[in-house]
C-alpha cells in the first residue's frame, strides 16, 4: 500500500466526505439530553432551531464567503409563512415547514439575483437593505402579520395527528432535532460535494475559478438560495413551537447574533454552529439578567478576543491542539 505523504493526502481528501464516527456524537448528546434534562426541553428545542439558522449562515459566510447582515430576512420570511398559514386555518406543521422553506428560498433567490453581483461593503449594505425593508413591510402589513404586536392566534395541529406540541416541550424537542438533522445532512452533502468544493475555490481565489471556467456567480446564487431555505425552515420551527411570530424574527439583532454565535464556534467548519449556539444561548440564559450591562460588555470583549486570538473559534482552537 502506498504510504508516501502524497498518496496519504490524496486518500484523506477523497475520504473527507465519508461519515466519521465522531459525527454521531452531537446527535447522541441531543437524544440523551431528552432523558437527562427534562426541564430544559423548550430551551433545547430553541437551541436546535437556532443551530439550523446559524448553520445556514455558515453556508453563505463560511463557504461562499458572502458577508451578510441580513440572514434574518429569510428566518423571518419562513416564520411568517408558517405563522400566517397556521393562523388562517392551515396548521399542519410539516407542510407549513416546507412552505416556509420554499417561500424563503424564493426570497433568497430573487434577492440574491439582484444583489449578489456586488461584493464587499456594497453587498453588506444590500443584505442590510433587504432585511430592513422586509422588517418595515412586516410592520406595515399588520393585517397579516399582527404588526408590532406580533402574530398570535396560530393553531398548530399535532404532527401526523398524534403528537401535539405540549407545554413541556417534548414534541417540540424532537421535531426541531429531526428537522435540524435533515438540514445538517443537506448542508453536509453540499459542502463535501464537488459543488461545495468549488465554492471554497471561489471564496479563496475567484480569479482562478473564473479562469478554469467555473460558474462562480451561479453557484453563489444556489448556495444563497439553499441557505435561505434552511433559514426559513428554522424560522418556521420557532414559529410553530411557540405559536407566535414577532417582528424580532426579521431584526438586525437576530442576524448579528447569528454571526456572533458562528464566530464563537468557528466559521466554515460545518460544526461551528453546533458549538457556538449552545454556548451563546446558555450563557445568555444564565447571565443576561444577572447584570445586563456587563453581559454586553463581556460579550463584546469575547468577540474581540475571539477575532484577535482564536480566529477559528472554538473549533479552530481544537484544530490547533489536535495537530
Amino acid at each position: 500500500m502506498a504510504s508516501d505523504p502524497r498518496s496519504a493526502a490524496i486518500d484523506a481528501f477523497a475520504r473527507r466526505h465519508r461519515y466519521h464516527g465522531l459525527e454521531a456524537v452531537p446527535w447522541l448528546i441531543a437524544v440523551a439530553g431528552y432523558f437527562a434534562l427534562p426541564g430544559y426541553l423548550p430551551l433545547g428545542a430553541q437551541i436546535f432551531a437556532t443551530i439550523l439558522f446559524v448553520l445556514s449562515a455558515d453556508l453563505v459566510l463560511g463557504y461562499a464567503g458572502i458577508v451578510t447582515l441580513g440572514q434574518a430576512a429569510f428566518f423571518g420570511t419562513g416564520a411568517y409563512t408558517a405563522g400566517i398559514l397556521a393562523a388562517n386555518g392551515w396548521g399542519e406543521p410539516l407542510s407549513g415547514l416546507l412552505a416556509a422553506s420554499a417561500v424563503a428560498a424564493v426570497v433568497g433567490f430573487l434577492s440574491g439575483l439582484i444583489i449578489l453581483r456586488t461584493s464587499g461593503l456594497a453587498l453588506l449594505m444590500q443584505t442590510l437593505v433587504v432585511a430592513t425593508t422586509l422588517y418595515e413591510a412586516a410592520n406595515k402589513a399588520g393585517r397579516w402579520t399582527g404588526g408590532d404586536d406580533g402574530l398570535s392566534g396560530m393553531e398548530v395541529w399535532p404532527i401526523f395527528g398524534l403528537f401535539r406540541f405540549d407545554m413541556f416541550g417534548r414534541v417540540a424537542y424532537f421535531y426541531c432535532l429531526v428537522v435540524l438533522f435533515v438540514g445538517w445532512l443537506v448542508a453536509r452533502q453540499l459542502v463535501h460535494s464537488p459543488f461545495g468544493r468549488s465554492l471554497t475555490g471561489a471564496r479563496e481565489n475567484t480569479a482562478r475559478m473564473h479562469a478554469i471556467g467555473a460558474p462562480v456567480a451561479f453557484r453563489r446564487l444556489i448556495v444563497y438560495t439553499i441557505s435561505a431555505a434552511l433559514a426559513g425552515a428554522s424560522g418556521a420551527l420557532i414559529a410553530q413551537t411557540t405559536s407566535f411570530v414577532g417582528l424580532t424574527s426579521l431584526s438586525l439583532e437576530r442576524s448579528g447574533n447569528a454571526l456572533i454565535m458562528l464566530i464563537i464556534g468557528g466559521v466554515g467548519r460545518l460544526y461551528g454552529a453546533f458549538i457556538g449556539v449552545p454556548l451563546f444561548m446558555i450563557a445568555q440564559d444564565r447571565f443576561s439578567e444577572v447584570d445586563p450591562v456587563y453581559w454586553y460588555f463581556w460579550l463584546g470583549l469575547l468577540m474581540v478576543a475571539v477575532v484577535v486570538f482564536a480566529r477559528g473559534g472554538v473549533l479552530g482552537l481544537f484544530e490547533r491542539f489536535w495537530r
Binding site: G147, S152, M167, F168
Partner: protein, 400 residues
C-alpha cells in the same frame, strides 16, 4: 365490640386528630412568582425601573405576610424576544413550578406567553405591556399598568373641552402609536373637534423636522405627538423647539411616554408647558406618593427617580401580596383570578386603582399633567383628573 361503641371510639380518635392538626403550626409555604422582564435590550431602562418598584414593595411589605409564608421571586430575562419569553414562561411553570407570573414590558412577549397561562392555568399579572387586546388572550391575565387608549381618549376629550377646534396627529408607526392616534381621534371628535390630518412616521427616525414641519404648515389648534420614550422623545422635542411650534400657537399633547419623569430633568426648558395624559407623576402630592418617594430615595438614593413603570410594578406586586395574604399562599389559579379580578387599592402612589372584573384590566384615574418649573426643576404637574377610567377600547369593542 358493638357497632355503636366502635363508632364512638372512631369519632373520638377523629376529633383528637383534627384538633391536633388544627393546633399544629401552619406549614412553611413559599410562594414562587416568576418575573419575566426585558433586562437586556432597548427597554432595559424601563425594565430596571419596573424591577425596582417590585423589589421595593417586597422589601417594605415582607413583614405583612402571614406567619410561615414567604415569597420567592424568580427573575428571567426575555431579551426583548417573544420566543424567549414564551420559553421562560414554560420553564417557570414546568420546572420552577411558580404559582404566578408577573411583569412583561413588551406587548409581543405578553402575547406569546398568553396562551400558556390558559393551558397551564397560571395567573399572569401584567405590570407594563399595554396592548389593548392582551387581557382578552387568556382568562388568567390581569393588568395593573395602563393602555394607551385609556390615556389618549381622555386627553382627546380634554383638548376639545379647552375650546381647541382642530387637531393634527403624528405618531410612531407601530401599534402603540396607532392606539394613541385612534384613541385621541375618538376623544377629540366626540368632544366636537375636527382632525385635520393623521400622520404616521417611521419607527426609527433621527430627525423629526419634516414631520413637525407638516404640523406647522397645517396650523392646528392642538397637535398630538406620540413617540416611544428615550432618544426619540428628545429628538421630537428638539424638532418642536427648532421649528418654533409652540411659538406658532400650537398646543402640544401626548401620553406620558413622551416625558417620563426620569428624563424630564435632562430635557432643558423645551418641554415647559407640554401637556400629557398619564397614570402617574412623581410630582403628585398625595400622601401615598410621598411615602413611596421617601422609601424609594432611601433604598435607591437621591439620584434615582421612579416613574410610571416603577409604580405599575409596585401595584402588581401589591395585588399579588394581597392575594397571598388572603389565601395564606394557597390558591388555585381560578381562586387567584377571582380575587385579582375584584382587587382594589385605594391607596396606591398613583391614587385609587381597581381591576374591572369584566375585562380584568385596570381602572384608574388618568391625570392631565402640564410641565411646570417647581424649585428650578421641571415636573409633570397634575392639572386635571379624569376619575376611574376604564379602557375605552374594550368598551367600544365588546368581545364577539
Amino acid at each position: 365490640m358493638s357497632g355503636k361503641s366502635s363508632q364512638r371510639r372512631l369519632s373520638v380518635v377523629a376529633t383528637a386528630l383534627f384538633s391536633a392538626l388544627a393546633l399544629m403550626p401552619a406549614q412553611a409555604q413559599t410562594v414562587k412568582i416568576g418575573i419575566i422582564n426585558s433586562y437586556s435590550g432597548f427597554v432595559a431602562q424601563a425594565a430596571d425601573e419596573m424591577q425596582k418598584g417590585i423589589d421595593l414593595y417586597v422589601k417594605l411589605h415582607e413583614k405583612d405576610l402571614p406567619a410561615g409564608v414567604k415569597v420567592e421571586l424568580i427573575k428571567r430575562d426575555d431579551t426583548s424576544n417573544p420566543e424567549v419569553g414564551k420559553r421562560l414562561a414554560q420553564e417557570l411553570i414546568t420546572r420552577d413550578k411558580v404559582q404566578a407570573l408577573m411583569g412583561v414590558i413588551l406587548s409581543p412577549v405578553a402575547a406569546a406567553v398568553a396562551p400558556l397561562t390558559a393551558e397551564a392555568k397560571v395567573p399572569l399579572v401584567l405590570t407594563n405591556a399595554a396592548g389593548v387586546q392582551l387581557t382578552r388572550l387568556s382568562p388568567y391575565i390581569v393588568r395593573t399598568s395602563f393602555t394607551l387608549w385609556q390615556e389618549c381618549d381622555p386627553i382627546g376629550k380634554w383638548a376639545a373641552e379647552q375650546g381647541w377646534k382642530t387637531a393634527y396627529t403624528e405618531v410612531s408607526d407601530f401599534i402603540p402609536g396607532h392606539d394613541s392616534e385612534g384613541a385621541f381621534i375618538k376623544g377629540f371628535t366626540d368632544g366636537g373637534g375636527k382632525i385635520i390630518d393623521s400622520v404616521r412616521f417611521p419607527m426609527q427616525n433621527p430627525d423629526f423636522v419634516p414631520f413637525v414641519q407638516r404640523v406647522k404648515d397645517a396650523k392646528p389648534d392642538v397637535a398630538l405627538l406620540w413617540v416611544p420614550a428615550q432618544t426619540q422623545a428628545t429628538a421630537m422635542m428638539n424638532a418642536v423647539r427648532d421649528l418654533g411650534l409652540r411659538e406658532a400657537g400650537i398646543h402640544i399633547v401626548s401620553a406620558q411616554d413622551l416625558l417620563p419623569d426620569e428624563e424630564l430633568p435632562k430635557m432643558g426648558d423645551t418641554p415647559l408647558g407640554l401637556i400629557t395624559a398619564g397614570n402617574y407623576s412623581t410630582a403628585a402630592r398625595r400622601p401615598a406618593n410621598q411615602a413611596f418617594l421617601a422609601a424609594w430615595a432611601k433604598e435607591y438614593g437621591d439620584q434615582s427617580i421612579p416613574d410610571f413603570f416603577s409604580v405599575d410594578g409596585w401595584d402588581g406586586m401589591a395585588a399579588l401580596f394581597d392575594l397571598i395574604k388572603e389565601t395564606k399562599g394557597n390558591f388555585t389559579a381560578d381562586q387567584a383570578m377571582e380575587f385579582l379580578s375584584h382587587w382594589k387599592n385605594p391607596d396606591s402612589p398613583r391614587g385609587p386603582i381597581e381591576i374591572d372584573p369584566n375585562t380584568r384590566d385596570i381602572v384608574q384615574n388618568i391625570y392631565i399633567r402640564e410641565v411646570k418649573k417647581i424649585d428650578g426643576k421641571l415636573a409633570n404637574i397634575e392639572i386635571a383628573t379624569i376619575p376611574m377610567v376604564k379602557d375605552p377600547w374594550k368598551e367600544l369593542n365588546p368581545p364577539k
